[in-house]
Symmetry: C2
């Protein structure tokens, strides 16, 4: 099964293996947590830090939290955000107290987005989108960074505990905007522990690891305050549809946004890099190169919930029975259906926004 | 008269002249503002930036503000704080809207002082001390940095407008705590202009000029918001009683605190570096070396309000009629009397603290 649900092949596994080695991560496997979700089962989730502490909380029903931030800069979200929400949802269902913060101060420091505009976008789109993706609004606590004085005060306190060289060693570079954002993230990450120390898990893309490392370093160094080092969980990137980079708005034709209209979704998927052979004859003979197929990757990471269904697709495609055109068609239907479902849930969620649990400051 | 009220001599004048040249300051002279105060008349105030703008506001009775911050780290204040308050008082009397902020966030970032402790110290000592030194509590607006979300939000916005190299060029070095403090100071300095642009003057010791420069650079670069570049006014340091450095707690025997008890004041002044000659005979013949006398400096900068009285002392001392022992005795009496008066006013001011104009956030 491992081979089937990780068809991305040895090349990227080696890369992620290097990341694990270089950054001292723990390898994640699907036995780490009970009832793993789709991306956990399929090794899209590949590593973490201090995971056993969270496993223990789940199994012994002890309090822990899961937390993520919304950057309200973009007009849409992307498949990486979807993966974060799926992991948050998983921990929420396992009993985690769930926190979503709107990083409006960071959006201002990093991108110049005004606080008013950041707040507006978060309320009108990002928060409803996270709910549409599966978060239980009744069990989720929301706050705006700009309103959370405790986090900001903690950021000031933290700043003095970090040297410029330490910052550069972790982030590669340092500028005032990045520094002020980073110390604020540290405050956010441990905010749920301000009243009472408690384990917490932060599901993120691997690119967010610097924040986790810095937070863990700072927290471990604090003498006057006691915190659990935050645990973290990393998922692999969804590759761009041409297979060349991480899916990114910088290559719009290779990137699927959430939401995106049907016509555009179909066009992009039909043009995606597939595992089809040079001729149909060859394809039937040799079978698809599944490990090079970005369309199968979409199905595996995002569109097929059932493992048996995915295995069936893999078999038909890798044996040459299913053509590249057919797998693209299948992915189109599933993606269009996902978008329809998302839009319906989004509209519903938008109406709930004024009833959410926003922390009052 | 210039010679009399600036007996500190060519050596330090040359130093301050270099500062003026190197940092592009305007030379201050006592005709810059109407009815100059003691330290303005005596060239203790020696330079500034954009001073004509403030002169115009005073003369045309147009709105402007004066602002200073309290760092609640120390248990006492020093003579440099006294000079700042004297200048604030001057501008307050000339019609400035006067702001005093408690830099509790900075005290936390720079010195690790908790916000609670910072607030307590400011309310119990620093704010009453500033009132005891002459600020009109009814005409002064106070706030705590940690409560001023607008200033903090502005700090985040500002951080992204500064590069690390620019910061290093102005401050010599950069570390996260210093950076976060500096961007917050920028917010404080322009806070009175958030609703409506208005000229403002910041009276400071020359060591605070980096904050002024950075603020002016940042403000001039802002396209979306309009501010007047803050004006600034610089005073010379009160030298330590041994004449070797700026008066500083790092040399406690050469530093007079506010408040300080009578016995300690007398002991320190009697041991101060004076302008007395090797023998009394020589002193009578040649007169005192007034420009080397730290006791005369105390009288000039802090203890003698009346110019004629100071001139009389100068004459008697420089002619040798007044001995070093006598001038020390005179300074002791005046300093002890100042402390008594201060303590009386401090006790009175402490009772007014709950009636002050604190900005509500």
């Amino acid at each position: 099964m491992t081979k089937i649900i990780d068809p991305y092949g040895s090349e990227l596994v080696k890369d992620y293996g290097n990341i694990i080695k270089n950054f001292g991560l723990e390898i994640f496997d699907s036995s780490t947590f009970p009832k793993p979700n789709r991306i956990m089962r399929r090794k899209v989730v590949f590593a973490g830090r201090d995971l056993k502490r969270i496993t223990k909380c789940i199994k012994e029903k002890k309090p822990f939290y899961a937390l993520s931030g919304i950057m309200p800069t973009n007009e849409t979200i992307h498949l990486g955000n979807k993966q974060v929400v799926e992991n948050l949802k998983y921990f929420q269902e396992q009993g985690a107290i769930t926190f979503i913060l709107v990083a409006d101060l960071e959006a201002q420091a990093a991108r110049g987005l005004s606080l008013e505009e950041g707040k507006k976008r978060a309320l009108e789109f990002h928060i409803p989108a996270y709910i549409a993706l599966g978060l239980d609004p009744k069990k989720t606590i929301f706050y705006f960074q700009s309103e959370n004085k405790e986090v900001i005060h903690f950021a000031y306190e933290t700043a003095k505990k970090i040297t410029l060289n330490e910052f550069k060693a972790i982030y590669g570079s340092a500028d005032p905007g990045r520094i002020i954002s980073a110390v604020t993230q540290i405050g956010d990450i441990v905010y749920p522990q301000f009243k009472e120390p408690m384990p917490g898990i932060i599901p993120v893309g691997i690119d967010q690891d610097p924040h986790i490392r810095l937070t863990r370093d700072v927290v471990n160094r604090m003498k006057d305050k006691k915190f659990f080092s935050p645990s973290s969980l990393y998922h692999k990137y969804t590759p761009s549809l041409d297979g060349k980079i991480k899916m990114s708005k910088s290559k719009p034709l290779s990137c699927i946004n959430i939401p995106e209209d049907e016509k555009s979704v179909r066009k992009k998927i039909m043009r995606a890099k597939s595992g089809g052979r040079a001729t149909l004859e060859e394809h039937k003979k040799l079978g698809a190169e599944v490990d090079k197929c970005m369309v199968f990757e979409l199905l595996k990471q995002h569109l097929v919930e059932d493992d048996k269904e995915l295995e069936q697709i893999f078999k038909e495609y890798s044996s040459g029975k299913m053509s590249a055109g057919e797998i693209k068609q299948l992915a189109c239907e599933k993606m269009v259906s996902f978008m329809k479902d998302f839009n319906k849930k989004l509209e519903k969620a938008k109406k709930q926004v004024d009833k959410l649990n926003f922390v009052k400051f």
